[in-house]
Amino acid sequence: MTVDLRSGAHLPKLRPGSQPPPPDWLPRQRRGTTPQMIGRYPDHDVFDAIDTWDEATKKVVLARLEPPGPLRFFSAAEEPALRAFCDTALAQETEPRIPVAETVDAKLADGRLDGYQYAGMPDDRDAWRLVLRGLDHTARQAYRCSFAECDTRRRENIVREFAHGRLVGGPWDELNVPRAWSVVMRAVLSAFYSHPWAWNEIGFGGPAYPRGFLRLGGPGYEGPGVREPFEKPGAVNVDPVREG
């Protein structure tokens, strides 16, 4: 499939069923790493600019590339459901993966919580444990296997119900399900989109101190003045045979 980036035809809400096209239209990453090696900016690697970052930022961002784990907060019994959930919620089915499970685990192990807890909900740490048990509970009821043993489609079915706050029974009855969704997704998204590989995938410029930006993109929408010299334009995976 080829996609005209300007048209927005790839955007889920503009497509039937609100689902994106299969990712085969995306170019393979040529510079640096992206999750699953796909992205919209095949020649963009935030680390190309690392010599323009300040020391404190460099330290924080580079630490995210350290080999992840081992898990400190979640038990070995919880690990499969944790990984399966993080993979499904972020559509990370193949390597290279951003180590979301390990980042979430570290945050909970260190008690770096977000500063609020819904009345009637357990502490975020307990909420996570209940959610993982809940996913297994639902999977057993619906598919007679654990959540991690389900195939992608079945896991997506369960997560879809979770996102809609419709899961009931077992551990779910101890939770306000829509709020539990918000608690776990907050952590999962922050783990994924704080990772420089995700910045490569989406074409985000990354840290920008002390260099800053000169070209703010306006007025005049196109032309050389709009883009910084170090910014690479978006691209698609043009297949010359099918194109022709």
């Binding site: 980036l5 300007r6 927005g8 790839h10 955007l11 889920p12 809400k13 503009l14 609100s18 689902q19 994106p20 992205g39 919209r40 300040d54 404190a56 930022t57 924080v60 961002v61 919620a89 972020l90 559509a91 770096r112 919580l113 977000d114 500063g115 609020y116 807890q117 819904y118 009345a119 997506e156 997560v159 996102a163 907050r186 998204l189 922050s190 994924f192 989109y193 704080s194 995700a198 910045w199 995938e201 989406i202 074409g203 985000f204 410029g205 840290p207 920008a208 101190y209 260099r211 800053g212 930006f213 000169l214 703010l216 993109g217 306006g218 007025p219 929408y221 196109e222 709009v226 978006g234």
Partner: protein, 572 residues
Amino acid sequence: MGTFWRGLLKGSVTPRDNDSRFLLDVHSRDLPGEATMRRYADDDEVDLVIVGAGAGGSVLAQRLARRGWRIVILEAGPFWHPDEDWVSDEAGSHHLYWTQKRIIGGTDPIELGKNNSGRGVGGSMIHYAGYTPRFHPSDFSTHSDDGVGADWPLRYEELLGHYERVELELPVAGQDWPWGHPHRYPFSPHPVTGAALRLVEGAHRCGIEMRVGPVGIVNGTFGNRPHCIYRGYCLQGCKVNAKASPYVTHLPDALAHGVEVRANCMALRVDIDDATGAARGVVYAREGEGGRTLQRAAAVAVAGYSIETPRLLLASTSRRHPRGLGNAEDQVGRYVMVQGASQTAGRWPDELRMYKAPPPEISSEQFYETDPGRGFARGFSIQTVSPMPIGWSEHVLADGHWGRALREYMRDYNHWATIGVLNELLPHPENRVTLADETDPYGQPVARMDYTLTDNDKTNMAYSTKVITDILRAADAQDVLIIQRFAHLIGGARMGRAPEHSVTDADHRIWGVPNVFVADGSVCPTQGAANPALTIMALASRLAERMAGGDPVEHYRAVRARRIPISTRSRR
């Protein structure tokens, strides 16, 4: 000086009695004077102890220090060293926020933490966005005029001089302002991004006027503070010193005038002398140490913001105040407010890269006041915002996307621009901060905040969300994603004309307690549809003038003579 001259002399009029901008170092972001800072002994009765080194507390300290007051600020969070402590990174800025536990309840619980509360020297403005609008004159009398909200015990005119003074100190950059009380700004508007221009185009097609600013961000240079570098990380703490926060605008001058900022010190109780009914000082704990210490003081100003100020007052029980300080009428913690802050994002064919430039760029206050045709009281303002990747992912999630759909929208990040609203949500007595059963590591009960929207609030939010969605459509956005959210705390210890309905009088003094004041955003009876920081600073500036009694020399003598340093007359 009139606003006309201020506008004309842009950039060349500077504050007279605040040297912070010159005291800052060009080569280092540290707060100058930390090493040589004056230090007081706990049993040394200082003139004033302030709880919280944020927007309100810092301005109060700077003003009164210049009048010779001996002041200690107790700050729960750290003393920042921005070059090392702050990063150009979203997740890495987690430590700037108040992340100690709080319980949120009610029908519409408000998410706290990074959304609205800071912790550390400089307070929440360290990571605020930078919008610095004034309140409108109508904000001070919504009850008389529209039958909703509350009347302030003071008028806009009483704050005007302080608004102007603080605008010079930040300094505020923006176009001439046509709304509320029309005025001009001391610095020219910043250039705007292609993303924001799309939004302005849409607004114009809808007949909505938008103006650039107002932001507390240096445009040009200001003493030793450099021009903004448009890197866009304002919500992560400005490593450039371009964005205003008390850390660069008031604390350098305060330290130079003998203020001690005692960081990592959590105030636990305002200590009341049961014999006299006056405060003796504040009991605090130093982080990582077991003991409790009383810092003695002739007067106390609480400036911990809308959750922590009520929490501290409620925890300050004594024989005279068994239900908490200032809580004889069961008013502490009530009428706490937030603003509705829905955001809509639009998609365009070109790459816009909204992460560049400060998130606050362009705003409109055209819908600020009541318009009977809209079907609800009071109104909202419109402001551009621009989330970084994690913020953007929360936006996409809120529109109902996860998994492959979320990744697809995220990959499209550079094609989007975002616009938001600030709804005036009305004060309600049941929206309240109370003490929860749980305690923090100091043994202090944690705060619980209950929040429930009223019908007026919901109608306002729905109407305004439609307005900003229409703006995107009018600008030919190809797709739209919406997130409903809230921002900006205010109230919780409001000022008023009578103790039955408020916690403090018009001079911020807690009813029935001669020497305890509230000096932060919690005193505001309403919050309009404007971001609150400038108003909090202007209120603290006015409070300083009231506390000093107007005559610095006379005051200084009074302080030396250890009389309580407050003029008790109301001079309205």
